[in-house]
């Protein structure tokens, strides 16, 4: 995959991640307040947005839960690292399942009441899954683009 496409993907992921924290950005870009409700509803289609699960800082809240925030932040971090990796080679599809395991375990354990919801655990397990998931997406796109180029 060319560096140009990687930069485009990186920017798109950055915009998506920045959108999660739009409440934190509005004080600096007032015009965004017009779009706030629309942006909020956009993220509502991909997350339950339960208030007690949102990341809170300085009175502002993220637009998605800690787990989703973690997934997107993980994806963003990996997409930055992937800018410096010319070609990917993944031979096993199980890594993503392994990366999802802590997240799924956390969902099950707190859902069945073994412990109460922890934003930090949700965030960390989300980051792990997101950072691995994006590698598979990049690899898939790499194969797709190589085939189209032939």
């Amino acid at each position: 995959m060319s560096i140009k496409i990687k930069i485009i993907l990186f920017v798109l992921i950055f915009i998506w991640v920045a959108g999660i924290f739009v409440e934190f950005i509005i004080p600096y870009f007032n015009g965004l307040s017009y779009a706030y409700t629309f942006i909020n509803r956009l993220y509502a289609t991909v997350c339950h947005q339960q208030f007690h699960k949102l990341i809170e800082f300085n009175g502002h809240h993220s637009l998605v839960c800690s787990r989703c925030s973690g997934i997107y932040i993980g994806g963003f971090l990996s997409s930055f690292i992937l800018l410096f990796i010319p070609t990917l080679k993944i031979r096993n599809g199980k890594f993503i399942l392994l990366a999802a395991l802590p997240m799924l375990t956390d969902v099950l354990l707190y859902s069945f009441g073994f412990y109460s919801y922890s934003k930090i655990i949700a965030l960390i397990t989300g980051v792990l899954f997101g950072s691995v998931g994006i590698v598979y997406i990049y690899y898939g796109l790499q194969i797709l683009l190589e085939k189209n180029a032939k």
């Binding site: 004080p27 007032n30 409700t37 997350c47 339950h48 993503i96 399942l97 859902s111 997406i137």
Partner: protein
């Protein structure tokens, strides 16, 4: 045979569309509901055709897109229907919180009032008629965008998981 090509993404997309408005499922599935649906549509297609040969990423993209679009249409339709009947929805429930958040924005009063008037109009329409054109159109646009993207991503990852699994068999 050609007509049956997209049966699995259509069926799974329909199911995902319904599940996306069921509160508990929505909470558990969160942003993974549509990607998982795209993966399931690929898996069902393989099982239905008993063809476990290597899948192409292109197929994952197409199946993911069809799953996402189907889920978006049905999700929006059922949301519209439930809103029409009950004259309430997630936006109405979230309104007090949105109001509080918007009031906390450090922006000028005129901007705040414009935003609140726009949002208040939508809420009023839903409460009195069970329908708001602006809400329905924005929901459809949001669902089409996010479900398509997440469906495609799920399809791309799904192909790799299935290929890896089938290779080992």
């Amino acid at each position: 045979m050609q007509n049956k090509k997209f049966i699995s993404p259509l069926v799974v997309g329909f199911a995902a569309g319904i599940l996306s408005i069921v509160p508990v499922i929505k909470s558990l599935g969160c942003c993974l509901l549509i990607p998982v649906a795209a993966f399931l549509s690929l898996m069902l297609d393989q099982k239905a055709n008993k063809n476990f040969s290597k899948l192409e990423i292109k197929k994952g993209v197409i199946f993911g897109l069809v799953t996402g679009l189907t889920a978006a249409f049905f999700g929006t339709f059922f949301d519209f229907l439930i809103t029409l009947i009950t004259q309430t929805n997630d936006l109405v429930y979230a309104f007090p919180q949105l109001l509080e958040t918007i009031n906390q924005f450090p922006v000028d009063e005129a901007t705040k009032q414009e935003v609140l008037a726009l949002l208040g109009g939508v809420i009023e329409d839903i409460k009195t008629n069970g329908f708001s054109l602006l809400y329905t159109l924005s929901l459809l646009a949001n669902n089409l965008f996010s479900n398509s993207v997440f469906g495609i991503l799920g399809g791309i990852i799904g192909v790799q998981i299935l290929n890896s699994r089938n290779q080992q068999k």
